[in-house]
């Protein structure tokens, strides 16, 4: 996974020069050549063909300014980057930040309403390979609306997808600032958990039957970055179904639940359920809720990462604050 994102990073295609590059060039070459170059680049400013992170060829406008997001994580990222005013539409499920709810909606991620999108006259639609279908991208392409797709399967991949969006939207400097601050926070967590023992974590997506997060989601990567180790790390799929017997066998130290409505009954419930009540983590009350943002590859993922690190290594955090 990391390989492919690196490749995408390097493989980002040659494009007509950005503003700063033009200025660097201008210092070195004669005026006549410069004018010629400007004339040539002017003819190419309207659009350029790039390969997005999902491997599709996209006819990308140079300065996209009417955006439709068809993934909640992208909506969040755009607001975080200060690009909320370029957003002209998002999905029914884009609930953060609150302003995102007020935007015109284009339906759900898997089957957005094409005519709503057309009516919003976007010059670029943004999606992810996690939330959206390839068919949607193909349909929009048929209608002459480019869709740029990002992928984010790890903490680092999420940060890189933010970086990539900044490049695509011609918004590099503010993006670099955000990305640098995110990286500083991730490094802070790294220091916090360094040298600590790694508690075994069970992440519960659903408990009847038990569905957990496998190695193909970034949740196991978040757990690892937060100084733990997911007990379902070796299950090579996204949301595997695991038997309680196997959980008992793997003996997690900590059990995590995403904070969703599905778990409204509360953690006490598990102390009564057969099988569950026999787990050391349940007996020792090591059950925790974690913000739902742990499942959304946006800058807020780093908040969930910090929250989780503090759950798994509370002492280390205190030592860090009072050396």
């Amino acid at each position: 996974m990391r390989d492919s994102s690196l490749k995408n990073r390097n493989g980002f295609p040659v494009t007509s020069g950005t503003g700063s590059e033009c200025r660097q060039i201008a210092e070195r070459i004669p005026l006549g050549v410069l004018i010629l170059a400007l004339l040539l680049s002017a003819s190419a400013t309207s659009a350029r063909v790039v390969t997005d992170q999902t491997g599709r060829r996209v006819n990308l406008p140079d300065h996209p300014h009417r955006l439709v997001s068809i993934a909640p994580s992208i909506t969040e990222t755009l607001y975080e980057l200060g690009l909320g005013d370029r957003l002209v539409g998002d999905t029914d499920y884009c609930d953060y930040p609150p302003q995102a709810r007020a935007l015109p909606h284009v339906g759900a991620m898997l089957n957005p309403n094409l005519e709503k999108i057309v009516a919003l006259k976007p010059d670029l639609v943004l999606g992810t390979d996690e939330a959206n279908r390839r068919e949607t991208a193909d349909q929009l392409e048929r209608l002459g609306i480019p869709l740029y797709g990002v992928t984010a399967h790890t903490v680092e991949g999420t940060i890189q997808s933010v970086e990539d969006l900044g490049r695509v939207l011609d918004w590099e400097q503010p993006t670099q600032k955000l990305v640098a601050s995110l990286r500083v926070r991730v490094e802070g967590i790294e220091k916090q958990v360094q040298g600590q023992s790694r508690p075994k974590v069970l992440f519960v997506v659903w408990y009847r039957p038990l569905i957990t997060a496998g190695s193909q989601t970034f949740i196991s990567n978040v757990i690892q970055r937060a100084g733990g180790v997911s007990i379902s790390d070796d299950l090579n799929s996204e949301w595997p179904h695991m038997g309680l017997e196997e959980v008992l066998n793997r003996a997690p130290d900590v059990i995590l639940f995403p904070q969703t409505d599905a778990f409204a009954p509360g953690i006490d419930e598990f102390q009564k359920l057969p099988g569950w009540r026999d787990l050391a983590a349940v007996r020792n009350h090591h059950l925790y809720f974690i913000a739902e943002t742990i499942m959304r590859p946006s800058p807020r993922l780093i908040e969930a990462l910090e929250e989780l690190a503090n759950i798994l290594h509370p002492m280390a955090k205190q030592q860090g604050e009072h050396p």
């Binding site: 999902t54 491997g55 599709r56 029914d92 909606h105 284009v106 339906g107 759900a108 898997l110 089957n111 957005p112 309403n113 094409l114 005519e115 709503k116 057309v118 009516a119 006259k121 390979d129 996690e130 939330a131 279908r133 390839r134 068919e135 991208a137 193909d138 349909q139 048929r142 209608l143 002459g144 797709g149 992928t151 193909q216 799929s237 996204e238 949301w239």
Partner: protein, 333 residues
Amino acid sequence: MTLSPTRRNVLLLLLALAAALILIDFCALALGGVHLSLGEVWSGLLSRHPGSEASVIVRDIRLPRILLAMLVGAALAVSGTGLQALLRNPLADPYVLGISSGSALGAIVALWIGGRMASATPLTAFVGAVLTMSWVYLLGRRAGRLSSYTLLLAGVVTASFLSAMILFVLTLLSTRDVRGTAFWLMGDLSVVTDVQIRFLSPAIIIAILVLYAFSKDLNVLLLGEGEAAHLGVNVGRVETAVYLLASLLTGLAVSVSGAIGYLGLLVPHLGRMLVGNDHRTLIPTAAFGGAIMLVLSDTLARTVVSPAELPVGAVTAVAGAPVFIYLLRRTSG
């Protein structure tokens, strides 16, 4: 066999159905997530302002989808009519012989092998349909010719085996693909390409016309195989042709739209209530009826929860069962 209406009445009925279809198509063109006035719809359709928003929405989004709904609806209804006569079973529908399951398996295997951001392709779906059709045909042959009894059993068993395979492959797919596949399994018309329309329209229309050419033989076949043979019908040839044509129609429809339920079961029954059992009128009635029903259902699917959309198969399934029960009570009571 019920008394068949006179030729003139039949012609009038078909004209009325065609007029209803055109009217419903225009309503479907005018309705959608984005509100357009009738004038905008009309000028968009005639492309008075090419490239305008109304023109893109009407000509590139709504029209291809309505055309696809008409083709798929007609194909499924005619296929169901043919199979009900061939199998002499009122419960037969285009999916009873496993063709939709084979098609679905083809599409899902493409997703599974293709991996991230792959499409469930109509091509592999069609290959799946053709393979299933051939397999069931070979199983259904007895002593050199098709036996409707064996055919039905072979089809049902094949369908259940393929469904089991689909469930197996679904467990191997990523969550996003599973959710995407759900649309396909339920039947969905939201993914239309020009190639599909250009390829499907001649294929489906020709298959319907050829099946229509066998309508007299189908009438005779309903009297029983023995009677039909006495009346000089080459039963084996008719059965094989009807089987292949009906399966082909189903395969074509399912490979682009997934398994849209109930239509192929319901419309032939509606048609028989309207015009009786004479296939010379029943087949065209079913073709128009199927087109009308699917355009109506898909318009509901597009507009009921707007801006979100429902898979059209969810609409036909929810509406289909009550209508079928109503028909059952009316005809038996």
